[in-house]
Symmetry: C2
Subunit: 516 residues, 2 copies
């Protein structure tokens, strides 16, 4: 319903929507619908283990509590809700946080300016969004370097061109050449104009969160934004058990505006949480309970996503490690806990600690993507492009990972056992010793039968060798160029584009540049 | 019990077993126990889909049947068992094959000459064995070339040195410089002397299967071999629905000797089976039912493993593709079918179609290894070293994959929720805003807390860069050299070693070289 409203509004304003859609199809920009899983979730925790962890998390909240730093309003909200507040420490009676969370929706729509690209977050769904946060970029030609706004726009374009990405994400890289206090304006403008997929808001300062909401009001209309989710934002918890005022300030802006927060513990196990899976899950749940409940204290019913960014540590070097079995167990376990809370779940991504888009990068990434799919993740940030422990957005890895996301779609569709799928006529036709390539069933079904990579090499050895013997990163580099060359912006109401431009210019003029 | 018997026998014969074990430990050759899963299996097929596939597979056997080619004895066995035999076509009444399979063990021990390295195949266990069959090898220095017996021995040594491999496998590469009719002798001798892990027998000719059994009689004693499994062998079905006389000849030798056969449909979906998952599973099950039942006609109670080597096809190029979602669905589904048959299950491996040990190789491999672990595979052939669709045994990929197998062990151990794992004291000690690195719980548990790669790079970017900015394949190449340099042969009774040498020499002298 609301989708249609937005669609009509845009349709009226921009005129030739159908023609532009045709053009979009012509240039091959097609986006898959978000995944709706037709496969079961994988569960590593026994019922007994879950109950132990849930009991312990409530014990942590009740006995140890959490700190809300430099935030008297938050402390007052907690006090009024029945928590025991002492200094900045908030001790939450057993059961209170879970009760508060009951007002949060189990699934909700995040609207895109193109209603065909709106996504439903929660339930059996999985929405895929790109890498978030790296200060560096890397590509085959230019190596590793600080990211610029030009890189940022390139990654938004690549995301727009990627069939399997449903969401444009947020800080696809840090545009370090733009002032810290102004870059959010350029980032939101890029997401709002270079793609028509949904995107994320700024969280680095409450004022920047407000700017994000205001820019959405220019796109969707103020009234629409008040009643609908148009932004998802990443609110990291300062683990262990600490909620700082910057992140909480942003959370308060978004929750009050009815916009979605991903409340995420940010944990390198062994450093910000215990060295055990069960201990880490206990802390993750305690922090999530407190943070998600807090959104409901700000505005009951505000959409909130339980996040878990958790990885292990190399105890030799102190480096965070990715794609490890412990990280997988935590991801599976946190999914079980989120479902019992009735909240959408954010975790996993194309995680790896490799310096190059090489085999390490791919092993670690594939391990994590598989885990993300089977653990019931609803919102997967960092689903493509992540390199070097999140320090680098990699152009090549972006398209390599985005390609693998296609495989997740197919896997999630599950196994049909209808008459066509049973293929008994084919087995009868071919018989012992025969060949299926030419049979009627194969001819009728082969086009959609198998997922196919658009990056990997499927040539015979000799052909591959004659073609230069290129590795995956080199093939991916060519695909990056091809996609960026083929990019055409999606249609946008010229009035909206201009109002965004004006807003950014006005805001940028209003204060001096800050670079820290 | 039987393990101990072998142990005593060896102990008496070889004298200083303890001293040699100490030496082995000193050189760091340690082998993990085979995996016993403490995590659930993942199931993609609904109960209804399973029943449809099972019904259809029996329909295939009853109405279409299977061919046993050039094998009158097999046809006679089937006739006496109650099948409808017409020409070479065997039509098996609904339920007969499943009934025959009931005499096969659900799990069994394959003995190694070092009883500490015997493995239990079936049940909740997972035994890992290396790549099988490639005519080529590849390494960073020498590129791609035909495999030799020297390569073969190198791969056996690498397998021996790999902590996470439980099994030495079979044709780790084809020693193409040895006559076709004699290379099995060199291969068995290498497995029997260069490692003390269990290994596989030859299947390329029934006589070579007999040689394999006879060589094991020299190692274990004739009486022991008659009553115990000391060989596992790979019997491929010529899909669709065809059992050729060479493979069946080998199967008959092994089954009659009470040795284990892996009866494996060999399917590129769309070519040797329908283009659908359910259709392929139907054919896999029909072929497995017929092939596994046949082992029980040869010798009731003979150990047999239901295999499924199934991958998808690139319909553009006709190339087999690996690590795809359809292959994963088939692997999960076949696991469900195997468990309902009560048979050990063989599938998955380090599958990929890449030409180099690069990102494609790793994505596809990781996808398949994860699937193999969660699908309940009991015997994973090709668990490391596979490259280029099985045409190449890669030195670097061997150690890269073998490293990942360590992660499978950890994942399979499941999640503890005992008091140490709960870590409530640690959470209390550290509190909000603290740090876990120095706390008592971390100090007590960090050594065993997290799995750690022995191949991947965990250094800070600057250090990695100063060290030459090496990619994973380069790091793996160094590890290959390190392992081969550190290799020392496991102790062996000199009398056994000599009897094997004599057997090989005698057999080689007995007939001229054949090269096809």
């Amino acid at each position: 319903m609301q989708d249609q409203t937005v669609g009509r509004r845009r349709g009226r304003a921009s005129g030739g929507g159908a023609a532009r859609r045709a053009e979009r199809t012509a240039t091959g920009v097609e986006t898959a619908r978000f995944i709706t899983r037709n496969i079961p979730d994988y569960e590593v925790l026994t019922e007994e283990a879950i109950e132990t962890i849930e009991w312990n998390a409530e014990t942590v909240l009740e006995e140890i509590g959490v700190n809300f730093v430099n935030n008297p309003a938050a402390l007052e909200r907690w006090r009024q809700a029945g928590a025991d507040v002492s200094g900045e420490r908030v001790r939450i009676p057993r059961g209170l946080a879970r009760k508060l969370i009951a007002t949060a929706p189990g699934e909700f729509v995040q609207h895109a300016r193109n209603p065909e690209r709106s996504v439903t977050i929660g339930g059996r769904n999985l929405v895929l969004a790109p890498v978030y946060g790296p200060p560096f970029v890397r590509d085959l030609d230019g190596g590793r370097r600080y990211a610029t706004i030009q890189d940022f726009r390139n990654f938004v374009k690549l995301g727009h061109m990627s069939k399997w990405l449903h969401h444009s994400g947020g800080t696809v890289c840090e545009p370090t050449d733009v002032a810290v206090n102004k870059r959010h304006l350029d980032m939101i403008e890029a997401h709002a104009t270079l793609t028509d997929k949904p995107f994320m808001g700024s969280v680095t300062e409450p004022g920047r969160a407000r700017d994000s909401v205001e820019m959405c009001e220019l796109i969707f209309g103020k009234e629409f934004v008040q009643g609908n989710c148009v932004l998802t934002s990443l609110i990291n918890i300062n683990s262990p058990l600490t909620f700082d005022d910057t992140m909480m300030g942003a959370l308060e802006v978004y929750a009050a505006a009815g916009q979605a927060c991903i409340v995420s513990p940010f944990i390198v196990g062994g450093a910000m949480a215990p060295v055990t899976v069960a201990g880490t899950l206990t802390q993750v749940l305690a922090e999530s309970l407190a943070g998600c409940a807090y959104t409901q204290l700000v505005r009951p019913g505000a959409p909130v996503i339980m996040g878990a960014f958790v990885t292990s540590i190399d105890m030799n070097s102190g480096a965070p490690t990715f794609g490890t079995p412990e990280a997988a167990q935590i991801t599976y376990g946190a999914g079980q806990l989120a479902r019992r809370l009735g909240l959408p779940y954010r975790s996993a991504g194309a995680f790896n600690g490799a310096k190059l888009p090489d085999a390490q990068a791919a092993y670690e990434t594939a391990n994590t993507l598989q885990t993300g799919l089977l653990s019931g993740v609803n919102f997967m940030l960092h689903a493509c492009g992540w390199l070097e422990g999140g320090l680098v957005s990699s152009y090549e890895k972006f398209v390599m990972d985005a390609d693998q996301l296609g495989a997740l779609h197919r896997m999630a569709a599950g196994v049909s056992a209808d008459e066509t799928a049973q293929a008994m006529d084919a087995i009868r036709e071919v018989g012992p010793g025969g060949h299926y390539l030419g049979c009627a069933h194969t001819q009728a079904n082969f086009k959609s039968a198998f997922w196919r990579s658009e990056v990997f090499d499927y040539k015979p050895y000799e052909t591959w060798s004659e073609d230069g013997g290129q590795d995956t990163a080199t093939l991916a580099s060519a695909r990056v160029r091809k996609l960026l060359d083929a990019y055409t912006p999606p249609p946008i109401d010229p009035g909206i584009a201009e109002s965004l431009r004006d807003y950014v210019a006005r805001k940028k003029d209003a204060e001096p540049d800050a670079f820290a």
